[in-house]
């Protein structure tokens, strides 16, 4: 519920390794709330979220270790450089085997390694926010409108990264207003906000 309004009930979702869920629906139907419930940032009024058959509130740190969340906010500090921001993201989770310079290279921000994040454009900041997906190792990616402010080339870039994650047997849950082109057997769609 949000401020007395019932957003959704009787939801039953199962995701296996290598699968992706796209949550769709009009604005205000609760897509962000659902994603935040899945990350554990928000408590559901009823029901539970299970990771490998165990409730996430009991797993706590062990669950968070395996989740990467990119929400509406970039989670990027303006006063820190791109590299410093990524180092922090790594410190909070499990570092990936990629060198940070390689990570920046992959998201086309190599030249901005030492630049303060505050001077980046919106699209560049979004790429930095998404770069944490490469800087840390996580099985589950939960992404809320990841393609905001991105141009077509960047969107294609990240779609490619999503495919790689699925090939690695990871799981992705995301919302997006844009079209995702992915093989349909790996893709599930959930539509919220449909009148009962």
């Amino acid at each position: 519920m949000r401020n007395d309004r019932l957003l959704f009930e009787h939801l039953d979702i199962h995701l296996e390794a290598g699968q992706m869920l796209v949550v769709e629906g009009p604005n205000g139907c609760g897509k962000t709330s659902l994603l935040r419930i899945l990350t554990g940032l928000r408590l559901a009024d009823g029901g539970e979220v299970l990771w490998r058959q165990q409730p996430i509130d009991r797993l706590a740190g062990d669950y968070f270790e395996q989740v990467n969340y990119v929400g509406h906010h970039d989670g990027v500090k303006n006063e820190l450089s791109c590299l410093e921001n990524l180092r922090l993201a790594r410190a909070m989770g499990v570092p990936s085997s990629l060198d940070l310079d390689e990570v920046l290279e992959q998201v086309n921000l190599y030249a901005y390694g030492e630049t303060e994040a505050g001077s980046l454009s919106a699209g560049q900041k979004r790429r930095l926010a998404l770069a944490r997906l490469l800087a840390t190792d996580a099985m589950l990616w939960i992404l809320d409108e990841p393609f905001t402010s991105l141009d077509k080339a960047s969107m294609a870039l990240f779609s490619g990264l999503f495919e790689q994650q699925l090939e690695r047997r990871g799981v992705i849950v995301m919302t997006s207003h844009h079209d995702i082109s992915l093989p349909t057997q790996a893709l599930q769609r959930l539509r919220l906000g449909v009148a009962a």
Partner: protein, 241 residues
């Protein structure tokens, strides 16, 4: 027994059961209040030190007891909210806060009225009065924080944390203020403590304390029912009322 308790936790059952108790409790409260006031104002002899003015103690002391008791109840609700997220605990916590604040205010006002005949001023920085004043701020903090948060379930979590932090701090604050007061005492000794207790004084005091307890439950039930209606106004059982 446990089943009855579990049933009580469900909003529509609580609403009905509370509704049935209210008339009984009202009568019990009025009886106890009458007995206590009669005993305190008429029967009990005047105190050899303070004369007639001590009689305000029959309201002041039970009010102070209630102000602390209700805060502890809120803290217990807070623990229940954090561990089990029980809706009824949320309702009881937020409904108790204004009642507790009122008792605290009553204790402050009666304490200051008590002080006037003795010290000539309406306010003295006595240990108990100062503690009660800080307690009033703690209550207002809970009410204010709950009002400031729109989503009432999140607000319940917030005040639960605040109530628990407060209950840990209350003994610390009380002790600190006592200590502070003993340090800065003037030549006169403030004696808001109970006068030498005689049975004829103790009995009305206990009756008043009991009366206030019943009042708390009574007021709580009224408020809880109103709060439940407000929270669950979109649910079926409310529509059927």
């Amino acid at each position: 027994m446990f089943l009855w308790f579990h049933k009580l936790g469900s909003p529509p059952h609580f609403y009905r059961i509370a509704g049935r108790w209210i008339p009984w409790l009202t009568w019990i409260f009025l009886l106890l209040l009458a007995a206590g006031l009669y005993g305190g104002l008429i029967e009990a002899p005047p105190d050899y030190q303070q004369g007639e003015s001590y009689r305000i103690m029959f309201v002041h002391v039970p009010a102070a007891w209630m102000s602390l008791f209700i805060y502890v109840v809120m803290a217990v609700c807070g623990a229940i909210i954090i561990i089990w997220r029980m809706k009824l605990a949320e309702v009881v916590l937020i409904s108790s806060a204004p009642i507790g604040a009122s008792f605290t205010f009553l204790a402050l006002v009666t304490g200051s009225l008590w002080g006037k005949p003795m010290w000539g001023t309406y306010w003295v920085w006595d240990a108990r009065l100062t503690s009660e004043l800080i307690l009033l701020f703690l209550y207002l903090g809970i009410i204010g924080l709950h009002n400031a948060i729109d989503d009432k379930r999140t607000a319940a979590r917030a005040v639960a944390i605040l109530a628990l932090v407060g209950v840990v701090n209350i003994p610390i604050i009380h002790y600190s203020v006592e200590w502070w007061h003993s340090l800065h005492q003037g030549p006169t000794v403030t004696k808001f403590g109970k006068p030498s207790i005689h049975w004829s004084m103790l009995l009305p005091l206990l009756l008043m304390a009991l009366a206030f307890q019943v009042y708390y439950v009574l007021a709580l039930l009224h408020r809880c029912r109103a709060e439940l209606l407000r929270r669950e106004r979109n649910s079926k059982w409310v529509e059927e009322l």
